[in-house]
């Protein structure tokens, strides 16, 4: 008797969860992108060509390139200083912003919810600070431009030469 009811409950949970599939069908694409992380290493070259995001930094920065690990250490907020001693300020768009997800999946090659988990640990247990969240790509560009030590990302098309473009090794 109990098992029947339990089964019923499982089914009702599935029904509750199913509409999410249809309503948020456009999100499926990003889930698929997320899935690509596993195979991304092999397809790195292909992805680099199609990668729309570019890592930008304040103009005074000495570095011209960063390794993927260094970029991850910066965006995971573990590395807090540039080699010249300038404090790093990380700018990101909101979690839900498509350009943000694309940057994490294609450039940083990280699972978005795992990066969020690291940030949350800093923000809510007092052992660090979260990234600075900006509302739009335009704000991203202007904040990185005006913040020494600032780092962020922009989509391929937009750049006016007033920020430093970093190559990711």
């Amino acid at each position: 008797m109990f098992k029947k009811k339990f089964l019923l409950l499982v089914i009702s949970f599935l029904i509750i969860s199913l509409p999410a599939r249809d309503v948020l069908a456009n999100e499926e694409q990003s889930i698929q992108d997320e899935n690509q992380i596993q195979s991304s290493e092999q397809e790195q070259e292909v992805e680099e060509l199609s990668s729309a995001n570019r890592v930008i930094a304040h103009q005074d920065l000495q570095n011209n390139e960063l390794s993927l690990n260094e970029l991850r250490a910066i965006f995971s907020l573990r590395a807090r200083k540039w080699p010249d001693g300038t404090p790093i300020t990380v700018f990101v768009l909101r979690d839900e912003h498509e350009a943000h997800r694309q940057f994490l999946l294609k450039t940083l090659k990280m699972l978005p919810h795992q990066l969020r988990r690291q940030w949350d640990r800093y923000i809510y247990s007092g052992i660090g600070q979260g990234p600075t969240v900006v509302e739009s790509p335009e704000e991203m560009l202007s904040r990185v431009k005006s913040t020494p030590g600032g780092i962020g990302y922009i989509e391929g098309g937009m750049s006016d030469g007033s920020v430093h473009i970093l190559t990711i090794r």
Partner: protein
């Protein structure tokens, strides 16, 4: 099967519906507050608003503000958990506000005030959750290391430090085998000092934490520790030591950790305590292994914990004082599936045993045999449409009363072995 009381019994579904309605009302109030910008303190605009008023105080601009608030609803068919849940309970909630300030490149100050209610357990009201001075003396692309002083969250397992922030957890209740809610204070944070460090390598990051201090205790924890709900006794010289070594894959595909915790203290009996209690000392030692895998839209988490409890000369019989040594075991396995970034469904099996060598409590003579174990199957879902908001519901089917708190169920003999629990949660953060 008679012992299984149906989860969807008429009375319980009535309580559940009533609870959900009230929770929805609470959510509505929270939403209108947040959209009227009382709660929604956007970091940038907030600091800029502050800044325009206080242009001279530039350091005010640098303070980052965050906070969270959550309300749970709990209903059980038997037993009480987090309040009088057999009638539906809202006595499980929390609210916090924190500020952090990078005073210098290598110096950070952080403070969080927390209001938290765990059923009828003390303490009620607000408290300082953490207050940390963090000095990082090594900081480059490969290595980082530093010291922390103050009231610090203890490094233990995957979830201890953020257990209070509902939105960051997959499930509403963390697995009780490892993260006992009613003992959370014992291992949650301590006043002391810690050292931390990390090293980046080609594939991921190695992280290390060690910490010593004085855990923050209260009377209810003391009674839980010595197994007497009415004790007026006190614990002095309490000390806690914690160490954790963790490895995290660079892409976030997996992580693993080994954590160790050791708590010691001296117990002195209260004047009205029963005669079988006497002054003595106690020690709790815990070892925890943690592993998490993230594969496509799946996430698998498992943690296994050994707990050794030693009560030295705290009890006495006619023959004189004697020691009690308990070797406990707890573990869980959780699978979660993300339909979309916002929708997660999870299933968990969580088992805890007070005596690892007597898992059915057959040799236990001092109470219910089912008070020595708890096996919990949990099914639930979480919906997080944005960074700020999160909603979750879960059902528990539980065999055993090991982590069922006596404070909610004072008549120990009346505790039921088989019970079911429904939880709903609404949470907001910024």
């Amino acid at each position: 099967m008679v012992q299984y009381i149906s989860l969807l019994s008429a009375k319980m579904s009535q309580i559940m519906l009533k609870g959900l309605r009230r929770l929805a009302m609470f959510g509505g109030i929270m939403f209108s507050l947040s959209s009227s910008h009382l709660l929604a303190v956007d970091n940038n605009t907030k600091t800029e608003d502050f800044g325009s008023k206080l242009e001279s105080a530039t350091w005010m601009n640098e303070i980052k503000w965050h906070g969270f608030i959550s309300q749970n609803f709990v209903a059980t068919d038997e037993n009480d958990f987090l309040g009088s849940s057999s009638d539906g309970s809202f006595k499980s909630n929390e609210a916090a506000l924190n500020a952090s300030w990078r005073a210098a490149d290598s110096l950070q100050l952080a403070l969080q005030g927390l209001y938290k209610q765990i059923g009828n357990a003390n303490p009620k009201g607000g408290r300082v959750d953490y207050a940390i001075v963090d000095w990082r003396f090594l900081d480059n692309f490969t290595n980082g290391a530093g010291f922390r002083f103050g009231r610090i969250k203890n490094p233990y397992g995957f979830f201890n430090e953020t257990r209070d922030v509902a939105v960051t957890n997959t499930s509403i209740l963390l697995p009780e085998s490892v993260y006992v809610d009613y003992l959370s204070q014992l291992f949650h944070s301590s006043d002391g000092a810690g050292f931390y460090g990390h090293n980046e390598n080609e594939y991921g990051t190695l992280l290390f934490n060690v910490q010593f201090g004085r855990p923050i205790l209260n009377n209810q924890i003391i009674s839980t520790l010595v197994g007497n709900p009415d004790t007026e006794g006190d614990i002095s010289k309490e000390r806690g030591g914690f160490a954790r070594l963790a490895y995290e894959d660079g892409a976030g595909l997996w992580r693993a950790a080994i954590s160790y915790a050791h708590f010691t203290g001296d117990f002195s009996r209260g004047p009205t305590d029963p005669l079988y209690l006497r002054d003595g000392s106690l020690s709790i030692e815990q070892l925890l292994l943690s592993l998490e895998l993230n594969w496509n839209s799946w996430q698998f988490v498992t943690e296994i914990q050994r707990r050794n409890t030693e009560l030295e000369s705290i009890y006495q019989s006619m023959a004189g004082p004697f020691d009690i040594v308990e070797k406990g075991l707890g573990y869980y396995f959780q699978a979660a599936y993300k339909f979309t970034p916002a929708w997660t469904v999870y299933l968990r099996r969580d088992e805890a045993f007070r005596f690892k060598d007597d898992r059915h409590g057959k040799e236990f003579a001092l109470g219910n045999a089912h008070g020595t174990f708890a096996k919990d199957t949990t099914l639930g879902f979480r919906y997080s449409p944005s960074f700020e908001w999160s909603f979750a519901m879960e059902v528990h089917q539980i065999d055993g009363t090991y982590w069922l708190p006596n404070i909610e169920n004072p008549d120990v003999a009346a505790q039921q072995r088989y019970w079911n629990m429904f939880l709903a949660q609404i949470a907001y953060r910024f």
